[in-house]
Amino acid sequence: MESKNNWKAWLYLAPALILLSVFTFFPIINTVIVSFTKDYDVIDASFSGFTFDNYIDILTPIHNANGNDGTAFESVMLIGLPNTLLLTFITVPISIILSLIIAICLNSIKFFKKIFQTIFFMPYVTNAIAIGMVFSVIFDTKYGLMNFLFGTPGFPWIYQNLTTGATVNYWSALFAICFYIIWHSLPYKILIFLGGLQNIDAQYYDAAKIDGAGRFKTALRVTVPLLSPQILYIMITSFIGAFKEYNSVIGLFGASGGSFDKTTGPRTMQTIVFYIYEKMGENGAGGAGLASAAAVVLFIIIMAFTIVQRKVSKSRVHY
């Protein structure tokens, strides 16, 4: 009976395993292989030998036989990486702290709880591209609401002022996209934290009250430690998510990723993932190799961060 059960089980698993092999397992290995090929051509899968050049092109400005002119280095190390890191380290901490405060507030109120919960969850069920376009209208140079509110008519938040020719300051564009990303990423975090808060036993709060702890102290010393599993989960998933930021850039700045004043920072808001997709879409020889190498580099960065986070948090998470 055991053996009969055995092959039946594999039959049930077959559809999932076949699809996973074709679209997940094989591609992971293949991407690593392609990242070491020279002149990989997407059209007929031909290439001329193996090389480290793709990695050298991306990670160093050294000119080599591949005909490296430094553009790959500029796109990945001077534009993609700084943008990705800035977006990650600005949006992740702010959105986690903000969502934690909102969740604690939501958990403490009695009236209108459901309505507030619904409102705070709304951005989750929207289309990143569509709402990105709405934000680009709000941040519009000439007639945008932001310029009206701040009393700065014609200030080029994210698009150049075509009349005066004023170029976009990198930091204003960064502000706009961070605002959007945080807005968009709050709902999921709030929901997870609320779920965690509802599981906290009321006796902890009673104990804190008897000890005379104030609201703030209770939140900091009781709620946060008891929520630490959820906080760790959210931290890891949102770091991974932020490292892969792409849709928000497309939504806000369009397919070009924006165009900013070079003296103020990177000249576009292109991220590493942006570079990967851009190179992949180029049907010429070599693009796929560079895209694969960038994907592998991104994977290593994400892995390293995840492992460090787990190590650091191990002593701080209370289960």
Partner: protein, 321 residues
């Protein structure tokens, strides 16, 4: 003993029984004062909490509000230096223009085809795999399950490149091979490790006695799966169905790569971005915002009517175990 005496005397002096409760005076406040103070501080805290939440709620809703009113404004009204917070005249024709520019019927057709097939496919592969992991015994079960969960850690970009190469080799991208392009947009999305995990958890909660009883009744695994487990797991399956359909509606990267160069193959989100790609074109803003309303409203409607299922599915991810 001595303490009690003190209290006793004090009590007699005040001639009020209530003060007995006030054995301990704290910071020179009586219990009543203390009680009142804590009540007041509670009210103040609640007021601030509500103000804080209300302000943030306004910020959360504002983009939706701005999208809707801008979609109803005329070009000249959008260009006013002092923005209006309600359209002076409702310009419904923005919607007519948006529908026309979007090539809406084609986008809808493509999105529905891709959405329905990838959702049905996902449900089937998920039900089978979750059943195997939850109920059946086989060699290497734990190893394969761990392997599957491991793939969730790997960024999708690693797979997208190779998958793109594969479908290009098979001639499934771009213009001419329509069936191939649909296949390329559907097949990779007929599987989801996360949903397998989610459904496995639900299946495992179904008591083993039911399975044994079915065995005694001579029911096969197949019958048990469809007659007992699937009906019992309906809420989870509904959650998967809704989230998956929403995923197809929002899909951008992969469908955009596949459909490049052939607008007849665009899904709704790709169509939206490609149609209104020129930034800063103010005359088009009305129609552009109308188009974003058209893309956003179905999602919000689904959310309003299926809130329970969506929030349950999403929050399940954060619960350990």
């Amino acid at each position: 003993m001595i303490m009690e005496n003190v209290i006793e005397t004090k009590n007699l002096q005040n001639e009020s029984y209530k003060d007995v409760v006030l054995v301990m005076r704290d910071e020179h406040q009586s219990a009543e004062e203390k009680d009142r103070a804590s009540k007041i501080s509670h009210i103040i805290a609640m007021t601030f909490t509500y103000i804080f939440l209300a302000v943030l709620a306004v910020i959360m809703v504002f983009p939706f509000y701005w999208m809707i009113i801008t979609s109803l404004k005329s070009g000249t009204e959008i260009k006013q230096l002092v923005p209006t917070f309600w359209p002076m005249t409702m310009r419904w024709d923005n919607y007519a223009r948006a529908f026309a520019q979007l090539n809406f019927l084609v986008l809808m057709r493509n999105t529905l085809i891709v959405g329905i097939f990838s959702t049905l496919g996902t449900l089937l592969t998920t039900i089978f795999a979750a059943f195997a992991f939850a109920r059946l015994d086989f060699k290497g079960k734990d190893f394969i399950f761990t392997l599957l969960l491991g793939t969730m850690m790997i960024p999708g970009e690693m797979m997208v490149i190779s998958n793109y190469i594969s479908v290009s080799l098979l001639g499934m991208t771009g213009g001419t091979n329509v069936i191939g392009a649909y296949g390329a947009m559907i097949l990779p999305f007929m599987i989801s490790v996360f949903y397998i995990y989610l459904l496995r958890q639900t299946f495992r909660q179904i008591p083993n006695e039911l399975y044994l009883a079915a065995k005694v009744d001579g029911k096969s695994d197949w019958e048990f799966l469809w007659k007992v487990m699937v009906p019992l797991a309906k809420p989870t399956l509904t959650t998967i169905l809704i989230l998956k359909l929403m995923g197809s509606w929002n899909a951008y990267v992969w469908p955009q790569l596949i459909a490049t160069g052939n607008p007849d193959l665009y899904l709704i989100t790709v169509g939206l971005r490609e149609t209104f790609s020129t930034a800063g074109d103010l005359d088009a803003y009305g129609a552009q915002m109308a188009a974003t309303v058209i893309v956003t409203v179905p999602l919000l409607l689904v959310f309003i009517f299926c809130r329970k299922y969506i929030m349950r599915g999403v929050s399940r991810a954060g619960i350990k175990g």
